[in-house]
Symmetry: C2
Subunit: 269 residues, 2 copies
């Protein structure tokens, strides 16, 4: 009946489903995600999810906590990650920038990038001030738009694309007490302001300031952000932090436009 299934949907449903489970597991914070949660966040019937998760576990892509029954990413994925050196290494390119921002503001700093409809935490520097209950770990994902860093990335996308992302993430926003509508408003605000801030209601008690990186790092949209307990980020301080971010983003952007991609094979004899 419906002629247009989706995109290149040839013989591969299971694989797609399996990968989407991996994504869900990877999106789960802290101690992993339970079958139930994974099943319906991936939109799969429970038994199906169960079967697939079992295989993934058996293959080493996932591990399972004996006590909580929760799934987490497995060691094989870690190993693949070692081998999958990105053509342009955002982490390394931004290391200095992150360092400098952290020293300047004293709070925790993040490097985020876009991955599909998610924002991904690529790197982080802990500020001296931070209460050590850091909300976001390296490798964590959340829907684009949720949190300052993720919001800056979303706002940096071309309108049409941003809309598509928001559309696709609509359901997921609920879980964070948000709606697509609200996100659209935030995006507008961030665009108008030139940088993104969060109310401190998304991740309770915390507030963030973030700026998008030029037009991305190696073509991938990205952002730099600073997060602190809400009290530490009153309007005055937000301005200060924003100024620092703007400055650092500018010099990073210049650096990126000069830096040749981080070739591994240098043609030098």
């Amino acid at each position: 009946m419906d002629t247009h299934p989706a995109s290149s949907a040839d013989g591969a449903r299971v694989v797609r489903r399996a990968v989407s489970l991996l994504r869900e597991v990877s999106a789960a914070r802290g101690n992993g995600a339970t079958l139930k949660v994974l099943a319906d966040s991936a939109g799969l019937p429970q038994p199906t999810a169960h079967r697939l998760l079992k295989v993934l576990q058996d293959e080493g892509l996932l591990e399972r906590d004996a006590a909580s029954r929760a799934y987490r990413l497995g060691s094989l994925l870690y190993e693949f990650g070692l081998a999958a050196v990105p053509r342009v290494d955002a982490r390394r390119l931004c290391a200095g920038t992150l360092e400098r921002i952290t020293r300047a503001v004293g709070d925790t700093t993040y490097l985020n990038s876009r991955s599909g409809n998610d924002a991904l935490c690529l790197d982080r520097r802990e500020g001296s001030f931070e209460i050590h209950a850091l909300p976001i770990e390296i490798g964590n994902r959340r829907p684009l738009g949720v949190g300052a860093g993720a919001l800056a990335v979303l706002a940096s996308l071309p309108s049409a694309e941003a809309d598509a992302v928001i559309e696709a993430n609509a359901k997921r926003y609920r879980r964070h007490g948000l709606t697509a509508e609200r996100i659209r408003i935030y995006v507008e605000a961030a665009r108008a302001r030139g940088f993104a801030i969060t109310s401190g209601r998304i991740v309770a008690r915390y507030r963030g300031v973030a700026i998008a990186v030029g037009n991305g790092i190696g073509g991938v949209p990205a952002s730099l952000s600073v997060v602190a307990v809400a009290e530490r980020l009153d309007p005055r301080r937000i301005e200060q932090v924003a100024r620092i971010l703007i400055r650092e983003e500018k010099s990073l952007r210049e650096m990126l436009s000069i830096a040749p991609d981080s070739h591994n094979e240098s043609p030098v004899p």
Copy 2:
């Protein structure tokens, strides 16, 4: 016909196949592997492999070099890798050891671990002497037994298990100009000697010395190895290097037995 195919082979063939393709891609050196190669090293008919690879690429687990048509690990795997922090981080635990060995010998040093039937290069320190045509990169895999580091790991396994691995890898050894029989001899030699050395014929021009780490790191068999151009490793020098490795392995082993696993969640309020 045969009633029970293999192990827990419930509804999952495709996923298993897909994963084994990922493994093959990850095993491929340098600039990736071509469809043909992947298809038959994974034991799949070409069209099937093609179809699966296409999906994996589409999902971001693989990338494809436009020119050479070769597949390589994709950015999503890198991202998963960031999130998949291992419960006990061998790389970090051995950083000091590796550093010290490299300073002491001046040649390139490797940390290897077992991953299934493969040896995996977990980390590496470049020695001052090294001609910069390093054969093995972080994340690379080769069959257990091929190369000094991989041989030490293999030799450290219980006999029965080592035999099983050798058996399973038999076909793959061919590609390195080796045979299961020869590997068995090497393993015996390594066990007798207490450390592993390679003839310099496996990776031409290079020779290696390696020692297994106690009974592994966090339960995973591992080894420390030193690789240099063959001329630099005459018998006398091999002895010197071995002595250093033995010493460092011992202190590493002691350190590991004290060090609590790197818990992330401390139960402190």
